[in-house]
Amino acid sequence: MSPHLRRLLASIGLDVLRSLGIALGIVVFTFFVIRMIPGDVVDVRGLEGSLTYSQQSAMREDLGLNKAWLQQFLDWSGMILSGDLGQSARYSIPIVDLLATVLPSTILLGTTALAIGLVLGIALPTLACLYPRSVFVTLVEAITIWSITVPTFSIGITCLIVFAVWLQWIPAIGNFVVPALILAVDTAGTLAKGLYEDMKETQRAEFIRAARAKGLSRTGIVLRHVLPNALTVTIALIGLMLAGVFTGAITMEVVFGLAGLGTMTLQAIQGRDYAVVQAIIIWLGFAVILANLVTDIVRKLVDPRLRNV
């Protein structure tokens, strides 16, 4: 293995370790924080008013909610490390089953939106740099302004009314296409905004002038020199978005009636279903590690300056 490759792997390895630390931190942090929120799942079960205060205590005892937090944490850690994610306290169903229901649609929506958003968000600024007096520049600015000014939930409801109710083109519940598009445009706008400025800034740099002087084609310069150098900040942003794919887009899920991780998390917090929230956070921890890893690798591959780290 070449020393360069070794150094690369070492630095990536360190980053993974760091992400692991963050993931563990999130898990522990969440465990204790959600217990600080007033109310617990017994209050939820008694919501319609049939449980007397003594019946509620009996239920709490049953669920182990009256043990000291540290004791609960040790019990739970033991269970997790043995591979068992636990049961939902509210529905008495294994959490893996609950997750299996929501993850496919969450990931489907997230990856579709991110993929389309990435393509649009990178292609448009590139084209705008290549053809500075074309419609692409206007498009970049339009998409940027759109993503800043239009809140996703209001455009979501408007689309629902127009496409599902008036035109009847899509069902009101469970449609993926429209929310994916809305999210994609939003993503593309966020990415394009920064990338375009970065690319313009990079274009003014010294080494680009040198490349021009050397006679390289405009397209070649933009694609092989400007773009990779300008992408660094954007890649960090994409890393965050990638992690976001795994956590679900809650407003779109609510508006379009999608059974996703976002709504499940919201309901678990509101229903004080601790085990479910904790399981989701573990999932999130994995997502963070994965996203960081991917971002890191891509960054080191793309940015020529970082290759010889």
Binding site: G21, I22, A23, G25, I26, F29, T30, V33, I34, M36, I37, P38, I145, I148, T149, V150, P151, F153, S154, I157, T158, I161, V165, T190, G194, E197, D198, E201, A205, T232, V233, L237, L240, A243, G244, T247, G248, I250, T251, V254, G262, T265, L266, I269, Q270, L284, V288
Partner: protein
């Protein structure tokens, strides 16, 4: 990074403001005016219910009424001030907490820095809205907890930027000179460096402020914003959304207000950043 060696120069020459920037500044000025003068320009009590629900704009109700019979125009006037106030407060909390924590951590040395910025990474890793939601449920619901929750959610942005700017400044020759003349690390941090990172902080503030306002509206939409009586834009949009077909004006008014102000802040923030000649790479999104 294309920042000059001497930190306080602005970009050479002072070209006039572009028409777009002038528009943005005008929008912000109008918003500020409404925020201050709103209560005097209102035609109705914004909280007064009436039986005329979901009516279109008329002579009596300039922007119509919403689903509770409240006057949209008056609510918008009051709501502008509220949304701006809460958004600005949250952003200020984020700035204060984030920048201060970062500076202290940096002043106290490497171990503190690692711990604090580990915490920062942790907060950034949590899904934003859900973190704010859990905070609001945990503290008592109300204006204070919304501001606090949003402030904590966005503090990491300021912490990171403070650190980046601080480290950049510390690498500059003038700080080394100060150190050589005998100034302690803390003194250098507070007296010499702080004024120079102000530019970065202000830029970041201009980016975070609209995000705070939008986040407040999402929280209201999900049912956990500030008190239901306060007609922030978010609360107005949330309340009017189920009646989008019957009374589109009730939702459109706050949506347009929110969009315009967010847009204006983005333009102005960009302009500020260019004026202070700060590379986009120093800005944390």
């Amino acid at each position: 990074m294309s920042v000059d060696a001497s930190p306080r120069t602005m970009s050479p020459g002072h070209p006039g403001l572009s028409p777009l920037t002038k528009l943005a500044v005008a929008i912000l000025a109008v918003a500020l005016f409404i925020a201050l003068a709103g209560p005097f320009l209102a035609t109705h009590d914004p909280l007064m219910f009436s039986a005329d629900m979901n009516e279109g704009p008329s002579a009596e109700h300039l922007l119509g009424t919403d689903d509770a019979g409240q006057d949209v125009y008056s609510r918008l006037l009051i709501g502008t001030g509220l949304s701006l106030l809460y958004g600005a407060s949250a952003a200020l909390v984020a700035l204060g907490v984030g920048a201060l924590a970062a500076l202290l951590a940096l002043a106290f040395g490497r171990p503190t820095e690692i711990v604090l910025f580990g915490l920062v990474d942790l907060i950034r890793a949590l899904p934003g809205i859900l973190f704010a939601l859990a905070c609001i449920i945990a503290f008592e619901p109300g204006v204070g907890s919304v501001i606090l929750a949003l402030g904590i959610s966005f503090a990491p942005n300021f912490a990171l930027i403070t650190r980046a700017a601080f480290l950049h400044q510390m690498a500059q020759p003038y700080t080394a000179a100060a150190r050589m003349l005998g100034a302690g690390r803390t003194r250098v941090a507070l007296v010499h460096v702080l004024p120079n990172i102000a530019g970065a902080l202000v830029t970041q503030f201009a980016i975070i402020l609209p995000r705070c306002i939008v986040s407040e509206s999402v929280l209201s939409f999900l049912g956990l914003g500030v008190s239901p009586e306060l007609p922030t834009w978010g609360r107005m949009i949330a309340g009017a959304t189920p009646y989008l077909e019957e009374a589109p004006h009730a939702a459109l008014a706050p949506i347009i207000a929110l969009s315009l102000v967010t847009f204006a802040f983005a333009i102005v923030g960009n302009e500020v950043r260019q004026r202070f000649n700060i590379s986009r790479r120093s800005v944390v999104l």
